[in-house]
Amino acid sequence: AQSVAQPEDQVNVAEGNPLTVKCTYSVSGNPYLFWYVQYPNRGLQFLLKYITGDNLVKGSYGFEAEFNKSQTSFHLKKPSALVSDSALYFCAVRAGFSGNTPLVFGKGTRLSVIA
């Protein structure tokens, strides 16, 4: 069965500093990996995905993530954090790509960027 682990409940970073939100996964077969962000009173917004190809994936709002197959990780990164990046971040995995394959989510990491 697929699973996702986000080992940090909370990440605090100063504005302008680089940020990393960690994610590791477990899946049989090829992983399809996603990051979503949730702002207060909003739905889950798609940030980026890894399907195949380059291990470094670039997404919305300057975020990127690096797929590391040997470490089964897909950490989310941004070179310079903004206060507006403060939100709840979810990593998710799909084990297959038929249309009905559900996403399996991590428990989320709350990012707090301090001015």
Binding site: G43, F46, I51, G99, N100, T101, P102, L103, F105
Partner: protein
């Protein structure tokens, strides 16, 4: 930009009552999903729906739950007799699913917070 909408944003109900949560997926999407998030816990898959029938469901989705696409735009989740443990945020999602890997990206609504008292 098209988006998934959900109503109501917050629903309070008494234990044993029936509730219907409503979703309007993105108009050209073919796959629909419900997920839920109990406070402080993971987002969990409930059910996926395609071509007017359930295509996959989790063990959470028992006989108390049902889904329906009553018309060309709405997608509903019904809980027949709510329990305290049904209190959660319920997210609807849709995906295009027409062709190609990128079409299976899921777009989420803002959620309905269900409180069962």
């Amino acid at each position: 930009e098209p988006e998934v909408t959900q109503t109501p944003s917050h629903q309070v109900t008494q234990m044993g009552q029936e509730v219907i949560l409503r979703c309007v997926p993105i108009s050209n999407h073919l796959y629909f999903y419900w997920y839920r998030q109990i406070l402080g816990q993971k987002v969990e898959f409930l059910v996926s729906f395609y071509n007017n029938e359930i295509s996959e469901k989790s063990e959470i989705f028992d006989d108390q739950f049902s889904v329906e696409r009553p018309d060309g735009s709405n997608f509903t989740l019904k809980i027949r007799s709510t329990k305290l443990e049904d209190s959660a945020m319920y997210f609807c999602a849709s995906s295009e699913g027409a062709s190609g890997i990128s079409s299976y990206e899921q777009y989420f609504g803002p959620g309905t917070r269900l409180t069962v008292t």
